[in-house]
Symmetry: C2
Subunit: 209 residues, 2 copies
């Protein structure tokens, strides 16, 4: 029995190469939850096979900028001439329906979300140590030495930002990490600040006072 | 990989008849933890079969009062002429060894512990509703109507104290409740305030600044 019926906004973030995407996928493979993944909106053209509303919401630059003006994004950013953002209204719909909305985003984006959704649950996915992250970046093999160096530099700037998150989950083994995120979701629902309202109703606290 | 290596003090509490003991037992039956139960100290004489250091630490009234003077209890109380208390030193030993120490105590005791151990994790076990608790109290069958009435009155005074706890866990089904407590323990270890120190060490944050 869940005293808090509203879904949670769960933000998975962490340095480039830490395996956020893998943890997120493993989390969705676990049983016993009602998770939805928040689809991003972008102005970049769809690639072959990409479906609007599934892979991304594809919109024009004008539409996107209109939404920025209306504060309709939890976070947004521009990469090489294209916009990417998390639409606020879709997230809110799911939360109201009692679903946990999972965002898997970059550190800068997560800190933007924190300002707009302070009741979200912010999880920093960390590598077991620096070397593990570097090895993972190198193992990708598809990137130039220069790109890898840039990613490492970015990670170095992101490591010290973990303290801004609610939880730090080490991605030592992906199933462990996903299990831990699920435990966090369950625990957050039981938190007194989220559950006291329904509890007081059930126990008729304050009713005769 | 657990960033916080110190054990947690986990206080399970809630109104009389809610099933704290059953939840605690189910919790200890679950896999994947390193829990110890904190043995209480008492001045009441051992009953047949009770073992010193297992069921209770049995001490004299003088010894107990000496310990009260030395602030050697996390909480203590007197019931019908006998003292009962939770010895602080034993709890601390286990926490240092990385074990989670579980206390299963009355609401008043839990609020005493909160003052002495603010970093403890305080879980209020709640019934699904009032009627469920009353039925459970009546079902015991061994107590007089008067005693049951007293317990109900006590529960009524304890219901409104849930807001002083960190978490509220509904004991709708005992395995569910125990699962939720275990999720809370796992989540608490991942909390940034408990894990940032070790994390910063691992990532060498602040080392070159």
């Amino acid at each position: 029995m869940k005293l808090n019926e509203r879904g949670l906004l769960v933000v998975l973030s962490g340095p480039s190469g830490v395996g956020k995407g893998t943890v997120r996928k493993a989390l969705f493979d676990l049983e016993g939850h009602d998770l939805v993944y928040s689809t991003s909106m972008t102005t970049r053209p769809p690639r072959a096979g990409e479906v609007d509303g599934e892979d991304y919401y594809f919109v024009t630059k004008t539409e996107f900028e209109e939404r920025i003006k209306n504060d309709a994004f939890l976070e947004w950013a521009e990469f090489v001439g294209n916009y990417y953002g998390t639409p606020r209204d879709k997230v809110e719909e799911h939360l109201k329906a009692g679903k946990e909305v999972v965002l898997e985003i970059e550190v800068q984006g997560a800190l933007q979300v924190r300002e707009k959704a302070p009741d979200g649950v912010f999880v920093f996915i960390a590598p077991p140590n620096k070397e593990a992250l570097y090895r993972r970046l190198l193992r990708r093999g598809t990137e130039s030495a220069e790109t890898i160096q840039k990613r490492m530099d970015k990670a170095e700037r992101e490591f010290p930002l973990a303290h801004k998150y609610d939880y730090i989950v080490v991605n030592d083994e992906v199933t462990n990490a996903a299990d831990r995120v699920l435990a966090i979701i369950r625990a957050e629902h039981a938190k007194t600040e989220r559950s006291i309202h329904k509890y007081n109703e059930l126990m008729e606290v304050g009713k005769n006072e």
